[in-house]
Symmetry: C2
Subunit: 358 residues, 2 copies
């Protein structure tokens, strides 16, 4: 099947660009001390995870237990929930995967440690637990230093838990436009992490993992020498927002929403069949791929409004590739990747963790 | 099961409020000349559609063929695609439903009429086709008056098509804050529709349907006397955006995303497990239900940041009801409604058309 025969809206994965991105990240990290634990919150697919693992990723991150289930059942052997897991049912579901995958999760409070200990004891399993520190995002995480050390000691003293390290992700830094400001934010995060690791050592606690970094900053975390695991996810796909943050190495757009022009009745406007339900707008409107003169300027639930510049008019029924503003929630709207190469459909990959919010 | 035992994020439907909304709309429309053809793009569920039909709705609107399939297979007998359907495969899928449901669709150009005629001929079925007119949204639709009449005549002259009427929905007017300005926008839309109906009559064409109106404006369309079918959808659920548009009759919030507090590590902040993937932000952040002092002030993919005012601190693990800013894309993120009444779970209703974008 040719790309232009794919029914729309559809989530396209350009396989050449995708493989380029995976190879580029692997080559970048190979000579460094940092390993890739790619973030599956972006791709939600054991197929994509396997492609990353084959290129040297040591495991995957997830944000939700449901994502861990989809990956573990899909054969991924090493999964970190880079997030807090609250509630006994969710903890029990996570522990139930311990027979088929190596698991870890994050905490940022004593209550969560007690709950994890109870769940691990009930499952008769020793669970690895990381302490999340707030390195600038002011979202989750305790303060670096003594607060984090106190939690680590409590974990280490829990019979069914093992202290796994520090989760030190600076989410808001990913989208700082200026390279220098981004670097400064990560320099502070690295310094916070380094200080906490030293204080842990002084208390006799080894820190096996310092994890964090995203597509907007990972070069800085790698350069710091303190981060052992890089949790980038978007690099595999890229999106319009990350494309505005130019950081080497260069990644290509591999993820697109294919849309069809469904109305040309209003002068100067082409309406496509992809609105809020087909493509996210939280990080800006999508951009048009290789169609200069066309601009996506408004979304309603099922419609996207495209303004037509000089000489760029698309025909009714014409299919256009949209580059999502934000790749993660774009993927989460679809059940399948339509893998294309040089204009032909090559594969359909299930997005098994689509909607796995729990 | 009690509401507080529901795993999160989950989509809650408060059944008392939902039934109140359906009863209120039915009572409002009963003495008027207008009928309800409720919009299923909001609820995406044959169960909800049936509840509307039992209270006098004459049918349902959809935006996509996939939604029509979910409703027709669920037993809904009368479905209007209030939108253009472009592409022979989609038209063939729609026609394939003609054995189990009465169908109609909209066009805003000659090419679409030719394509609908070809599809209807291939299916050996006479298909009802409405002309969409642009009454102010500048999205889809031809200009009212002669352009619309020309399309209607072409439809009427097509052997396998039947002219069904006018689609005259003013989407952007729904969200105008001032009641007077909203009324003025709909007065213009009604005048455009009335003029076009008269010109159709002069050409010997009866106009069985004038359809349009949403939750923000339907009182005006009904009062105009020209609209025969009201296409409101959100009234069944309400959302934070529509709550800011006060229009009688009063509807209640029946739709919520239930979320759990997953971190209290950062002072003054509660982080919940519902971010961009669990709740839309295109029409503003969600509001907190019956929790004064709490404000949802930031979303990332899997996290919602809630700022805590005086004396309002929620505990780790506590569950909070969020009122979505925009109900339609909220529903489209979930596979089930969890129906609750007075704090107990009463039913699970499938959202069969979740993700039915094609």
């Amino acid at each position: 099947m040719r790309e232009e025969d794919v029914e729309t809206p559809a989530l396209l994965l350009d396989l050449d660009a995708f493989e380029h991105n995976l190879d580029t990240m692997a080559a970048f990290l190979a000579p460094t001390g940092a390993k890739l634990r790619a973030h599956a919150k972006t791709h939600k697919s054991a197929v994509v995870a396997m492609a990353q693992m084959r290129r040297g990723a040591i495991g995957q991150c997830v944000q939700k237990v449901g994502e861990a289930e989809a990956l573990a059942w899909g054969g991924i052997p090493d999964i970190l929930v880079s997030n807090e897991v609250v509630g006994p049912k969710k903890l029990a579901r996570l522990l139930a995967l311990s027979g088929i995958a190596k698991l870890a999760l994050c905490v940022d409070g004593l209550e969560q440690i007690a709950a994890a200990e109870a769940a691990a004891e009930a499952a008769n399993h020793r669970l690895s637990v990381l302490v999340e520190i707030d390195v600038g995002g002011a979202r989750c995480g305790v303060r670096p230093g003594p607060e984090a050390v106190a939690l680590a000691e409590r974990i280490a003293a829990s019979p069914h838990l093992r202290f796994g390290g520090l989760q030190a992700y600076h989410g808001s830094a990913q989208h700082i436009r200026g390279l220098e400001e981004r670097g400064a934010a990560i320099a502070q995060a690295a310094e916070d992490s380094r200080r906490t690791v030293e204080q842990l050592r002084q208390r006799g606690l080894d820190c096996p993992i310092v994890g964090g970094a995203g597509t907007g900053t990972f070069g800085f975390e790698v350069a710091s020498g303190i981060y052992t695991e890089i949790q980038a996810g978007s690099y595999a796909f890229m999106d319009a927002d990350y494309a505005r943050n130019t950081t080497p190495p260069p990644f290509r757009h591999s993820l697109f929403v294919l849309a069809t022009v469904m109305s040309r009745a209003v002068p100067g406007v082409a309406v496509v069949d992809a609105g809020h339900k087909a493509i996210p707008t939280d990080s800006g409107y999508p951009t048009l791929w290789e169609r200069p003169g066309l601009r996506y300027t408004g979304a309603s639930d099922e419609h996207g409004k495209i303004e037509i510049g000089d000489g760029a008019a698309p025909a009714l029924g014409e299919k256009l590739r949209l580059v999502p503003g934000h790749c993660d929630p774009a993927v989460d709207r679809y059940d399948w990747y339509v893998g294309v190469r040089k204009g032909r459909v090559e594969c359909l990959w299930p997005i098994a963790a689509r909607g796995a919010m729990q």
